[in-house]
Subunit: 302 residues, 2 copies
């Protein structure tokens, strides 16, 4: 289900995406409502988008509108509503970026349902990589995200194993990796959900808006991200450096955790990380190993 | 609220509107779902639209797709989702036809909420008329609709006062008239909701699909309607003939009714219709007059 007003807001965004200034009255005609109703919807949109109204003219800050980005070497598609950006990317060529303002069938890891809200960045990158880069992607991607939060936003972000990004213990970004064999290469689908200017969608989550206390232009984060992902292969070349960073950023290390796995619950203290990213957990019944494939859920206890 | 699958179906219709054949796999990519899911949605769409799938290719019968109509002298706009077609028409010039597959803020008479479902025809006609034609429109429009149902579909349609169209006592079409002064002319907004291939949206309603037992190409009804509405002035010239037809088709005449008005409930037998379309009702307390402006709801009892 999607609320009527959410849908009307997406219709307004679609109009503003293609023409960044719009007279309120014309916007009302084009979506088929009264101007007063559009004004109400816009006041609401202003909470999650860099949108302003001045003397009856609505304006979407181009730095917040992904359609205005033309990243060199990439084909960028910015849609309003899709099932899932991962599925849109299936039909696109390599070096595609698919962004949606709203996903109806968003997926998380282990087929978990994914809750959407307006103002975030929901993206899939599709690119060809060699097998080594593909195998390291699960640790490179969270490292990239943490570095952006730390270096460009001055925030103490960390990794919650295996690849959620957290700030103050709350999830701010998630990653979903999928791959397809393509001749001797691998086509990587990097799904990234970033809580930017959206209100935190669930308990235990946060957003840049909440952390910074203000809205931020999404294209800044997006350009940084595209720049790093274009250099994925380069980052994979220095495996030791990446592994070191991953472990440095991994807040799960030395934490007491509870994990739900396909073979039951595991509770204990994380004492180490293996070479393939598996966790070594000290439990009452001795050491246990957690790997991302069979771990459905993990919580930090203390 | 709008269901996720309804929205995905509208996204499919939008793709088919602009390109009447589509490979299922490409459709899946473009809306961001898996082909199996698209196939499921299409089987569902086939219940309300003349849509077919043959060897992985989806096809929308052009006679069911209003976008393929190019009515002479009219500018036709066919949208997927709008607030209300009446409001879209506000921003369009005279001689516009606005059609939507789904309305989020559909209105009925007396500001009643209007329930939308897929497969009907939800239309606003905007045209300039002289004052006489404008004043007769409330009786000409139902007469036009009844004639189409009777002559072109061989169905015994009638009018439920003031201007609902009924078949076997069930509502199949509704009319909402609004007007704007424009120099010495009047700009008329004729909103018409027609239950064509949709499933009857409410208790006491029916649709052409239900009455005929099969789907029917919507453009046939639409062309007939456009043709009649283009001749509105001509029809208004013979007032007597129109009034005679209106009264002939008016099933409310001689019926026992219950009416909800702004000044209370009225119950009695309808014995006559006045020159301005008002009903003369014989109640226990003597004759009462019902006019469309102050009557909120009317039910036929027997």
């Amino acid at each position: 289900m999607i609320g009527r007003n959410t849908l009307l807001k997406l219709m307004i965004l679609e109009k503003l995406r293609d023409k960044n200034q719009y007279v309120v009255r014309e916007l009302a005609w084009d979506i088929g409502t009264k101007p007063e109703y559009v004004n109400m919807l816009i006041s609401d949109l202003k909470k999650n988008y860099l949108i302003d109204v001045d003397r009856g003219v609505v304006y979407w800050n181009p730095a917040d509108n992904p359609s205005t980005l033309k990243p060199w070497g990439w084909s960028l598609e910015h849609k309003m509503i899709v099932g899932s950006t991962q599925e849109v990317a299936r039909g696109r060529g390599p070096w595609s970026v698919v962004i949606a303002e709203y996903m109806l069938l968003g997926r998380g890891r282990h087929g978990k349902k994914w809750v959407c809200s307006l103002g975030g960045l929901w993206i899939t990158f599709k690119l060809p990589v060699d097998p080594v880069t593909a195998s390291l992607a699960p640790i490179i991607l969270p490292v990239i995200l943490v570095r952006i939060f730390r270096k460009n936003y001055d925030l103490s972000a960390g990794i919650k194993w295996p690849n959620d990004i957290i700030i103050d213990g709350k999830k701010i970004a998630g990653i979903l990796l999928e791959a397809e064999a393509f001749k001797d290469q691998i086509l990587l689908y990097i799904g990234i959900g970033l809580n930017i200017n959206n209100d935190p969608p669930l308990e235990g989550t946060t957003s840049l808006k909440e952390v910074l206390g203000r809205l931020t232009p999404r294209n800044r984060f997006l350009s940084l991200l595209i720049g790093w992902i274009a250099r994925l292969k380069k980052l994979a070349e220095d495996q030791d450096e990446i592994r070191k960073s991953y472990i440095e950023y991994l807040e799960t290390l030395n934490k007491t955790i509870v994990a739900k796995t396909y073979s039951g619950e595991i509770r204990g203290k994380v004492v180490d990380v293996g070479d393939s990213g598996e966790l070594i957990v000290e439990t009452e019944k001795g050491l246990k190993i957690l790997d991302p494939v069979t771990t459905i859920e993990l919580r930090h206890i203390k």
